[in-house]
């Protein structure tokens, strides 16, 4: 029924492939920084996704991604953190084949997403940001459709397990339009999992989601990770990145500004603050304590002692002794460790200050 001439070219589904990607690849290899990152990566865990010099300019001329380089390690949970409009969805959409890249290269499981799109896409499950589901189909039908679409043989037991895990089993014969928003979100997750992806993208999975789903979802993410699935999620909720992620990437204005182990990030940038509530207000910080990283609150009732998470113990002991020497009495002590949110805000501010 069809001209086999165009049909046999397996990739005419795909647009602007080869050309720019191939060139960029050479460039990327030559870069000292890129090469170093690669060898380091290989020592730890091989990358499952490699994004090289990826740029995207939308039809209107808006540059949504600007030379993005990113490596995702096999089996990790990677959180992509960034304000609205930073390019998170664009990045995910290009990797998944929904948006055309302007230039650059992406490999998934070693497969170029344009030239070897079948192999690359077979590995990927996507739960997009927007709630987009069929309406008239049943839950059961739509999830099985997804599995077939990805070329997997029917497997009722597996689909049943997924539906049960997402508390959808009782709803399997209901039409999707009869479900609540949270349930629809579960259906989308079930669809993404139906073909047993090695990489799962969750684009703002918990935006506007009720508590029970959020809890179920994180439990599911952890279970998937235990089974070796790599998970890339974007979120506005920094606590979530903090709680879930192994590594965190920060994206702003289409550029990845930072990629770091979560623990290292907290360590490196995580400032601690000890607040000493004073018995009697001070007018100024005593001369004798001026060598310490202290600030006085506006009302003079509290001293703030700033220190890095490293070597905290010694610092606090010294402070206590010095306060005692000065005869400064205090009524309360509490410490505060900066969260990822604080780090994020300070990074954003630092960047805005620099601009």
């Amino acid at each position: 029924m069809h001209s086999s001439g165009s049909g046999s070219r397996a990739d005419f589904w795909i647009t602007d492939r080869d050309g720019p990607g191939a060139i960029v690849k050479e460039k990327g290899k030559g870069r000292g920084k890129g090469a170093m990152a690669e060898t380091r990566e290989e020592k730890r865990a091989p990358s499952i996704i490699t994004v090289t010099e990826l740029s995207k300019t939308y039809a209107g001329g808006f540059r949504a991604l600007d030379s993005v380089n990113l490596d995702i390690r096999r089996g990790e949970i990677f959180a992509l953190l960034g304000p609205n409009g930073a390019g998170k969805t664009t990045l995910i959409s290009i990797i998944c084949g929904i948006v055309n890249a302007s230039s650059g290269q992406v490999r998934v499981g070693g497969h170029d997403i344009w030239r070897e799109f079948r192999a690359a896409r077979s590995l990927i499950g996507l739960v997009p940001q927007e709630l987009t589901t069929d309406m008239f189909e049943t839950v059961w039908a739509t999830v099985n459709f997804s599995r077939g679409l990805f070329g997997k043989p029917a497997d009722k037991a597996l689909v049943e397990r997924i539906l049960r895990e997402l508390s959808l089993w009782d709803k399997r014969n209901e039409r999707i339009m009869a479900l609540s928003g949270g349930m629809k979100r579960r259906v989308m997750i079930a669809k993404a999992l139906s073909h047993e992806p090695a990489v799962l993208f969750l684009d703002e999975p918990t935006a506007g989601v009720d508590v029970s789903l959020r809890r179920d979802m994180w439990a599911m993410v952890r279970r998937l990770r235990e089974n070796g699935v790599t998970i890339i999620l974007t979120t506005h909720y920094i606590e979530e990145a903090e709680e879930m992620a192994d590594r965190i990437g920060i994206i702003r204005g289409g550029r990845i500004t930072l990629v770091e182990e979560k623990a290292a990030l907290m360590e490196k940038l995580g400032k601690k603050q000890l607040t000493v509530q004073l018995q009697h207000p001070l007018a100024d910080i005593p001369e004798a304590l001026s060598d310490l990283p202290l600030t006085l609150s506006a009302d003079g009732c509290a001293l703030h002692y700033h220190f890095d998470s490293q070597g905290a113990q010694a610092g606090i002991a010294v402070l206590m002794r010095r306060l005692g020497e000065q005869g400064i009495e205090f009524v309360d002590l509490h410490s505060h460790q900066s969260s990822l949110e604080d780090i994020f805000v300070s990074l954003v501010q630092a960047r805005e200050g620099a601009e």
Binding site: H2, F12, W13, T15, L126, P128, A141, L149
Partner: protein, 253 residues
């Protein structure tokens, strides 16, 4: 070939048809019956035979074609427009499928449905007027080829349309007039010479003429030309669809 994907899309689309089976079948069957009551019995009884074929029988192939065109276009355009409109197209775009597989799935389902309806209308028509089919093989060939061709055309419309109005406008403003002026209700030889020439620019003329030939062995235009023009139109649609997927037109930003 990712046969499972093709089959998943095909079955998904067919399920959509069977879910609305009653309205899918009722509307073409009722409208064909009305045509036969009005043109076949009421008016037809006053009409002379055309080339030895009673008027009621004469309009059968044209009516089937009319229905085939409308149904193919609306099925296929709706089939691909809806996922674009609702956003569920993301899944097809991100799946390990080629354009060819997607098209076979969607267009195949739309064409299957129209062929089934075409046969149903044929049977309905038989209840109103007696007729014979001289070349059953060619009749089926024309039926299938037309269903595929216009489902491809509908697929293009479904991708081009960015709203429900546009989805309707081409079938309404172009296809229906062409179909009515395509010789369904009259023989070209009944037209003045100038109009006979102008009519040859109407692609539907070739479909109806060829299809009628498979019934009664008579045609307004040469049967080879009919078949060739239909094939040509089909290849044109295939080329446009290939271009759509190569550029991502209206599918990918």
């Amino acid at each position: 070939m990712n046969f499972r994907a093709v089959s998943a899309i095909y079955r998904f689309e067919m399920a959509r048809t069977f879910r609305t089976l009653l309205q899918s079948i009722a509307s073409p069957v009722i409208s064909t019956s009305l045509y036969f009551i009005v043109f076949g019995s009421a008016i037809g009884s006053r009409m002379v035979e055309i080339d030895g074929v009673s008027y009621g029988a004469f309009i059968v192939p044209g009516l089937i074609m009319l229905m085939l065109l409308t149904e193919s276009i609306s099925n296929a355009s709706f089939g691909i427009f809806m996922p674009r409109y609702s956003g569920t197209i993301y899944e097809v775009l991100s799946a390990p499928v080629t354009a060819t597989e997607v098209v076979i799935g969607y267009v195949g389902a739309a064409a299957s449905k129209s062929v089934l309806l075409g046969l149903l209308v044929l049977i309905t028509a038989r209840l109103f007027v007696p007729f014979q089919i001289e070349h059953p093989f060619w009749m089926i060939a024309f039926l299938v080829l037309t269903a595929i061709t216009f489902s491809l055309f509908g697929f293009i419309i479904g991708i081009w349309a960015d709203g429900f109005e546009k989805l309707q406008i081409i079938p309404l403003m172009i296809v229906t007039p062409l179909a009515f002026l395509g010789g369904t209700f009259y023989s070209l030889s009944m037209l003045p010479p100038l109009w006979q020439t102008i009519t040859l620019f109407n692609p539907v003329v070739y479909l109806v003429s060829g299809f009628r030939w498979s019934f009664y062995g008579q045609a307004d235009v040469n049967i080879v030309l009919s078949f060739g023009m239909t094939l040509l139109f089909m290849l044109g649609c295939v080329a446009v669809i290939a271009w759509i997927f190569r550029t991502g037109y209206r599918l990918k930003s």
